[in-house]
Structure formats: structure tokens, C-alpha cells
């Protein structure tokens, strides 16, 4: 297997580029502004660059290759038409500072996307600017801050999050200057209402909730929770990570949520890119619209404009107008699926999840044995106790069978958690294969635990020394050169 770092194929004088000859005179750069040190870039030919990146790319698992049952991360198929549309000259090659009249198509696309997202979620207005889900959270929390400040309600400095929440929720709240209060979950995986009542007060800025939750369960008491938070003067924030489960069946806007974000890569098929770019549009109810970041996209007659004159706006959260390339992909998907298709997405995502859950609960523990939405959480606790096989071992063994492991050790409230989300783009045949493999692994755990401890056996590299990496960080080639 190819084992090189690009610096190891570099040698002096090789080039992977050719520029047109300089056709203007040379101009002197004042000596004091000149770079004096080496730039540490490799010297490689074009053919070698291509070959290098193809070779290392083949060590990646990816959705076009196989099944990714990653709970809460929603790894579904990325339609190829989306990619083709994002690369059109008319959309890829426009400058953000061109006059509005020259970019009417782009503005119209964004305006229509805002409208569609508003309808799907039941919110009144959207900003497309946030660059990712966590950036959407930060934006949403800034909106909360601005809303309370606008009412001169200055002591609201606490954000409540359930103990099952995404780690980004408390991190975003802390970054926006809030203090965090955690509420426990009840025995059915929902928010513990009594505990919630005990912590709300006149210092509550808001509650952040994922619904369905990270346990994959729809919050049964959502209207009561909304009543408690609103009654105390706080706002209800919806983490849209799990929107894939309820499209066409329920809308956060109808459940009492005031602010929401959507992860376009989770629900609307923009690709994950090995970690990004994403996009995290934020939707609000009418009374919060005036606080949205500038610019807003407006339509007057048939003309689209960027509106900056909003005196109560939180300001800007990102330069220009958001991750436009991602917005094209998401809108292409929404148009392709339509109202009927999106509803069908949620139906199949939920059916697939329940099918896996029912077929696996015999072999792994299921802490919440109730109807789930598009994901569910198993526990490897008893397997660990009986055979010394951890959830991490199970995850790594799955790699040997050609699967990407599910999300593990999340949510934190389930011991040895294994969180599975099949998505709607997998067939029954794939799910049946996966069930078979999961059962085989459960048997292996009992019969030959070392096989799991030492897994994966068939991957480009085997278990890596994480603690060594942290103890002695080598973060660039120059560190060992």
C-alpha cells in the first residue's frame, strides 16, 4: 500500500504548475517587507500530486462506498445532481461584491430556499448565513441575548440543556456568555419535567432541545415544556440535528420553538466533505425577525435585494451571505424531493431505524424500548461486564466487516452507548446484512473476545496510539524533519 507523505516525494526543481509568462515589467519590493525564511512547501509534479491524493484517498471510507449507521450524524447518500448544480458557471463564478442586479439568480435561489425551509419547519423567517450547525447555535443564542437585552431583561444569563444534548449546545452557550444548567432525562428518555420546573426562573434565557432527542425519541411533553419555558419568560431553541425524522409530520414551529437551526448536511444531503463545509441556517418566529443578522434577502416585485437597514439586528455572523455552494445543493434536493418526497424520507428513515432496533435488541441491550424516530441507542454494558468487550471493540470489529461504525459513547447518559441511524437511503437488504454482522459480532464477543480487542484486522492501519500522539504532538512535517 502507498505509504508516503507528500514531502517524501518532493525534490528540488519539480513543479506541478505552469503560469503564463509575466507580461508586465518587474517591480521592486522594499527589502524590509520581503520574506526571508523557507516556505516549507513540497516540490512535486502534477502527475505525482494527482497520484498522491488518489492513493491516500483510497484509505478513506465514504458514503458512496458503503453503509454509515452514524447516529445523530445522518450520513445519507449525496445526490450527484447537487454537485453538478453547485459547479455551474452561473453559480460558482460570481463575486460576493457584484451589484445586486448582476446576481439576481443567486439571490432568488436563496430567497426561495429560505421560504422552503420556513415551510418545512414552521418558522417565519430564516437567515442562511451560519456556516455550520454549531455556528447556527451560536447565532441562535446571540438572537436570544439580543431579544432579552432589547426588553431590558438583563438578568437572563442561564441556558438550560438536557443531559443528552449535543456537546456543541453547552459549548455554544458558554461562548455566547451564558451559564449552563443541565437537566436530567426521565426514564422514558425525555426531559424530566419536575427537574425542569426546579431550574427555570427569571434568570432563564432559554432551553436548547433536540426533538427527536439524541436518544432518537420524540419528546412527549413538548407542549408542556414550551409552556414552562415561555411562562418563565425564556425562549425555546430547537437543535435541528434530527429534523430528518419528522418532515411532513411535525414542525418545530408548531411545537412552540422560537429559534431553530438546521444542519443542511444532515437533512438536506449536502456532502460531509470529511468534516465540512456545512451550513446551519437559522429560523425564527416573527417576533424575532428584527434581530436576525444582516443582510436579509428581500423581494420586491420581481427584484431581490440585500437589506442592511435593520437597527435591532445582532449584526453579522459571517462575511458575505453564508456557504452559498451548500445552499445550492440543499435547494436542488428540496426541489427534487418536494413535499411528498420529504415526507417519504422521514417515513423510511423512521421505519429503517425501528426495523434495526427490533432486530438487534435481543443481542444488545436497549435502554429505552419504545418506538424510536430515525435513530436509537443500544448499550454494550452487559457485554463489557460479561466478556470484557467494550463498545469501542465492537465498533472496530465492524470495520473488518466493511462498515463504518455507529456513533459510540454518545449520548453520555447511556453507558457504553452505540447509537445507530440507518437513514432512508439504505435498503432492507443492506439492513439485513448489517443485522447479521452485528449478531455475528455479539457471538464473537462471547467466544473470542480477543478477536474484538485487536480489531480492526483489515484496515489500512490498525489501532493507533492516541495517547502517544497527544503526549508528543507531531502536527506538521517540519516537526520531525
Amino acid at each position: 500500500m502507498y505509504e508516503k507523505v507528500i514531502y517524501e516525494i518532493s525534490s528540488k526543481g519539480k513543479k506541478g504548475y505552469m503560469l503564463p509568462p509575466q507580461d508586465v515589467p518587474q517591480y521592486e519590493v522594499p527589502e524590509k517587507y520581503l520574506r526571508k525564511t523557507d516556505n516549507h512547501l513540497p516540490e512535486v509534479s502534477e502527475r505525482e500530486v494527482m497520484s498522491h491524493f488518489v492513493n491516500i484517498s483510497s484509505k478513506n471510507y465514504h458514503i458512496d462506498k458503503g453503509f454509515y449507521p452514524l447516529g445523530s450524524c445522518t450520513m445519507k447518500y449525496n445526490p450527484k445532481i447537487n454537485e453538478a448544480m453547485a459547479r455551474l458557471d452561473g453559480l460558482a463564478n460570481i463575486h460576493p461584491y457584484q451589484d445586486e442586479k448582476m446576481v439576481q439568480g443567486a439571490l432568488r435561489l436563496m430567497y426561495e430556499l429560505q421560504g422552503s425551509l420556513g415551510e418545512i419547519t414552521g418558522m417565519d423567517a430564516f437567515t442562511l448565513q451560519p456556516a455550520a450547525g454549531a455556528h447556527g447555535e451560536k447565532t441562535g443564542l446571540m438572537l436570544m441575548h439580543q431579544y432579552h437585552r432589547g426588553r431590558n431583561d438583563l438578568k437572563r444569563d442561564k441556558i438550560i440543556v438536557p443531559d443528552s444534548s449535543h456537546g456543541t449546545n453547552p459549548a455554544s452557550a458558554a461562548m455566547t456568555g451564558f451559564k449552563i444548567i443541565e437537566v436530567p432525562s426521565n426514564e422514558r428518555g425525555g426531559v424530566d419535567i419536575e427537574a425542569l420546573k426546579n431550574v427555570v426562573g427569571d434568570d432563564t434565557a432559554g432551553l436548547m432541545l433536540t426533538n427527536p432527542s439524541t436518544l432518537g425519541l420524540f419528546e412527549e411533553n413538548i407542549t408542556e415544556i414550551a409552556g414552562i419555558i415561555h411562562g418563565a419568560g425564556g425562549l425555546l431553541y430547537y437543535d435541528g440535528a434530527n429534523m430528518n425524522a419528522i418532515m411532513g409530520y411535525a414542525r418545530p414551529g408548531d411545537m412552540g420553538f422560537d429559534i431553530i437551526h438546521l444542519n443542511l448536511h444532515k437533512t438536506f444531503t449536502t456532502p460531509h466533505g470529511g468534516g465540512g463545509p456545512g451550513a446551519g441556517p437559522v429560523g425564527v418566529k416573527e417576533f424575532l425577525k428584527e434581530f436576525l443578522p444582516v443582510p436579509m434577502i428581500d423581494k420586491k416585485d420581481e427584484t431581490y435585494t440585500l437589506r442592511y437597514d435593520m437597527e435591532n439586528s445582532i449584526g453579522k455572523v459571517k462575511s458575505f451571505y453564508g456557504n452559498f455552494g451548500m445552499l445550492i445543493r440543499a435547494y436542488t434536493y428540496i426541489l427534487t424531493m418536494g413535499s411528498d418526497g420529504l415526507k417519504h424520507v422521514s417515513e423510511m428513515a423512521v421505519l429503517n431505524a425501528n426495523y434495526l432496533k427490533e432486530n438487534l435488541k435481543e443481542y444488545y441491550q436497549l435502554p429505552y424500548d419504545i418506538l424510536c424516530k430515525h435513530e436509537f441507542v443500544l448499550s454494550g454494558k452487559s457485554m463489557k461486564k460479561k466478556y470484557g468487550v467494550s463498545t469501542m471493540d465492537i465498533a472496530k470489529r465492524l470495520i473488518d466487516y466493511g462498515y463504518h461504525p455507529p456513533s459510540v459513547y454518545f449520548p453520555l447518559i447511556v453507558e457504553e452507548a452505540i447509537m445507530i441511524e440507518p437513514t432512508e437511503t439504505e435498503s432492507k437488504e443492506t439492513l439485513d446484512e448489517f443485522i447479521k454482522v452485528m449478531i455475528t459480532i455479539a457471538k464473537e464477543a462471547a467466544e473470542n473476545p480477543d478477536l474484538l480487542h485487536e480489531a480492526p484486522h483489515h484496515s489500512p492501519v490498525r489501532r493507533l496510539d492516541d495517547s502517544g500522539a497527544a503526549r508528543n504532538p507531531i502536527l506538521k512535517w517540519q516537526d520531525i524533519e
Binding site: 512535486v44 488518489v54 460558482a92 439568480g105 470495520i399 507531531i474
Partner: protein, 447 residues
Amino acid sequence: MFPYIPATEESKKKMLEDVGLNSVEDLFKDISHKVRLKGELNIPKHKSELEVSSYIKKLGKMNETTEDYTCFLGCGAYDHYIPSVVDAVISRSEYYTAYTPYQAEIAQGTLQTIFEFQSMMAGLTGMDVCNASVYDGSTAVYEAAYVAVASNRRKEVLISKSVHPEYRKVLKASLGAANIKYIEIEIKEGTTDLDDLKEKLTKDVSAVIVQSPNFFGLIEEVEEVVKESHENKSLVVMSTDPISLGLLKTPGEMGVDIAIGEAQALGIPLSFGGPYLGFITTTKALLRKVPGRLVGMTKDVDGKRGFVLTLQTREQHIRREKSISNICTNQALNATAATVYLSLMGKEGMKEVAKQNYDKAHYAHEQLISTGMFEDSWEKPFFKEFTLKYKGNLKALKEKLEENKILGGFHPKEDYQALENHLIIAVTEKRSKEEVDQLCTIVKEVE
């Protein structure tokens, strides 16, 4: 019916039986009727690929693009040449459809690419550490400010008015919500006013943020800023254009603590402002305060070289509200594009492209001045972008240029009231002498 969903009526029926339900509707019986959507979503029904692509193409055709126009617009988004190999690599499913590399054994492609990105960006900036990227240049500014505040626990951040206005607005909004004081430093003759800086440098100042080349294209006296700030034990954050580092003195050479910026210039299309590529590089001293992901080189159980996400205890998965940043998604695919770009250009290519930008911008500057219709806004050194004051009617000039398919530059009056009739003009390696000469010819034709 839907090409992305493989379920058949028969498989659906079998699965429903298996889970003990009668209908698909039953899958949603846990959602109370009080919050159930009545009726259908009010958006159009599904459409075929053919219908959708012709509609999106129609929207695309409503835009004027940099393929049709000669682009002299810059200001944080640049029309640089993108070698074909960049798109060939990032269009591979192995890169664009892969997940965040938490399972290192089957994500070595992404992890190694990020490691190479970190190596190249550290080399280019002359800094010790680079992270796996942040959203864009503007968000890199506040991430850097939080690093500074976390490191020296002071509660004020100074930023020069010559930093990109959008970056300043993003910083202001972010710090405002987090109760960190945001203060601007005045500009004098187009660059940071060092006297104003000295006056505002108090014991509460955590960081001083400057940009070089700055929003007007001018090269700042960063070493002076570093000297003053360090005497006050404040950190210096410098935003920079990575193309300029092929030629100009690096943040590392000048003693900057955190070098950040927008790396869209490195192989990423204009795309109406995003997605772009923010980078954050720092010194070793600040290593444990770096936001987001870091990839480290290590060995597997067989002693084979491999790469992992490292120092993750800084991140929000583990530290939750005590993490340094909430950043989770980064811009891995754009970082891949930049890594491929930098690999192709290499040591000499980055020098050459930087010098071409410099020379072409200086040629354009000289030629425009010689039309007699422009004067220098400030006579100061610049890199690939410069600011000129137009002596005639700016609107008429703009219209004439547009008629001739030229995007003639950015008018910064919205953010800088004093700059009535000024234009910021960017000239990259993509602009030919002929295009610059044509620009000047048209300038002379305007009344």
C-alpha cells in the same frame, strides 16, 4: 418513485410486520395530535432531475459571472487561477462523501491530507501550529480573539479599522454577546494609526488585531504593532492573505502570536462568498488553546505510521461548556483543495504567483495613475490590491466598465465615509497586460 430511496412496497410491508405496526402512520403515533402537521407541506411536489436541473440552470443564467467579465474586484474574495487537478481531487467520493475522521483506521486519507494542510500552512505563515481549519476569515477573527482571552484572561480586544469591515462586524457581534469589550483603532493614511494604538493599549487589552495586506491592499507596519503590544503583554493577531506569503515577510518572522485569514485564494471558487476556508495558526505556547481539530502523526499497534485527531480533550465533545470553542464542523474539503493547490504550486510556484500578483497590481496602478483620472489615495506599499481616488463621476465610470464587461473594483464608501469616490482594485495573476490596458483605455473614454 424516489431515486434516492430504495424501499419497495413489498419491503416496506415486511418491515412494518417485523416491527409489529400496521402502517407507516403508526411510526409517528408518539407525536401528539396537538403538534402534528395537518395536511401537506406547502411546497411543490417532487420533480425529475431533468426539470430540476433546467430550473437551477435558469437561475444560474440570471447571474453575470467572472467567466464573462474581467474581474478587478477583491476585498476578501479573489479571482485566482484554480488548476484542474484541484477539482479532480475534491470531486472524488473518497473525499467529499466521507465523514469527519473520528474512526482513524478508515479515515487516513482525510487525516493525512489535513496533516499535510497543517504542515503547508505552518510553513507558509512561519508559525508553529495550524489547525484543521475554521469556517472562514471572518469567523477566524473571533476564534483568535477567544484564544487570546482564554490565554491571558483580559477582557478587551482592539482591532484596526483597516481590517476587512465584514470581519470587524462579525467580531463585534460575537464579542458583544460574550461581554468582551470591542474597541477599534483609528487609521491614518490607510494603515493602522500607531499613536492611537499606543493610547488604547491598557492592561485590559487581551489582543490587538491587524490585517496585512489590509482591506485597502496596503502592507502594514506589523512589527511596530508587535513591539508595542508585547510591551503591554497583549497578544497580536494578524489576518493575512496566504498568496502574499510567497513574497512578503511572514507573521512568524514578525513575532505575531496568532496568524489567521481567509484561504479562498488557494484553489477555492468565488461561489458568491462561500464556502471559503478560514485558517488559524499559532505559536507553540498557545497550542492547547487552538480551537477545533488538530491532526497528529503517530503509530499503530504494528508500528506503522498513521494519523489521528489529537488533543481532543480541548473539544466540546468532552469538555462541553468548558471547551475553548464550539466549532465542530470545519472546512475539510476546502482544506483539501488548498492542500492540493499548495502541492501543485510548491516552493517556487508560490513565490512566482505572489510576484506576478505584485507586479501586475503595480503595473495596473501605474497605468491607471497615468490616465490622469486617478490619484493615489495614500502613497504606501501594497501587494495585489490598491486604492485610488477617481477624479470623475464614479457612477458613470462603473456603468461604462460594466458595458465593457469589466468588474471595476470596490467602492468602500458604505464603511468608510471619507472615501467618497475611491475604488479598491485587485489584480491577480489571472489578469493579463492586455486586460489592464483595456481597463485604462476605457477609463480614458469616460467623460
